[in-house]
């Protein structure tokens, strides 16, 4: 049994603004490696902060 997670992002946060720009800049809607890694990091951080365990 897993919890149904819904990720909510803060539109006023500079990091999210920067990520959005990166995606907009890219041609096929996929940002560069560093941004993907950073997005993963943010997601895992949020998992921990929300009380989940990292898989």
């Amino acid at each position: 049994m897993m919890a149904k997670k819904s990720l909510e992002i803060n539109p006023h946060h500079p990091v999210m603004k920067a990520l959005l720009e990166k995606i907009k800049e890219s041609e096929d809607n996929s940002p560069d490696e560093a941004s993907i890694e950073y997005a993963d990091l943010l997601y895992q951080m949020a998992l921990l902060q929300s009380g989940f365990a990292i898989e």
């Binding site: 997601y43 929300s50 009380g51 989940f52």
Partner: protein, 259 residues
Amino acid sequence: MIKVMSKKLVRKTIDMIKELAAEAEEEESSEEEADADGEKKEESEEKEDEEKSDEKKDDAEKDKSEEEEDKYLTFWNNFGKSIKLGVIEDSSNRLKLAKLLRFYSTEDPDKLHSLDDYIGRMKSDQDTILYLPGDSKSAILKSPILKKYKQKGYEVLLLDDPIDEFTTQHLTEYEKRKVKSIAKDDVSVLEDSDKNAKKKTQKLKEMYKPLTDWYKKHLGKQVEKVAISQKLDDSPLFIFTSQYGFSAQMEKINKAQAF
């Protein structure tokens, strides 16, 4: 016959606990609340096992006489779990027992508060009793979603006991107010209701569509959806759980259980 007896015994115990709580209130309101909680627990236990509950009652009474001041507090510390269990299992006495519940809250994290206290402090536009479950009080207080509620002046109950979340889920409603976890995605207390704000949110949603779409695709099955939040202050993102699904805490508890 035994059923009738146990029913009456439970009722009497609850009344006794209530009396105790009332006495304590005269001395100090917070202590009273704790006592009341303990009584409720006793009641539920009595139902399950009359003899057991009687013993508990005796214990509670002992506590009372030993330390008049910390009576309720001592009672709650010793039998709070039983009262919480009572709320879960004893549906007929649930409301009575709920009155005896004591929780920590953002208002004063070092003291225990009753749900009635909480309602008394609620803002006029607030129709929901808010709580946030977690591993420990200090961990809950550090949670990024708590910040905005605090800023706007909403009080949030801090549930640091693993059983608390089950209790509040069974309670669902207290004094006509819904009891909800702020880590679930259906709490709308912070959402602005006027048209301008809604338009703004809509705009933000469109603006961020490339990001939310990409994030969803990237994370795949790990998340149900990716959305724009109005509940965050200075943290970039947070993971909420759906209204009916497991919460983070419950997932943890579930994982720890070996079937």
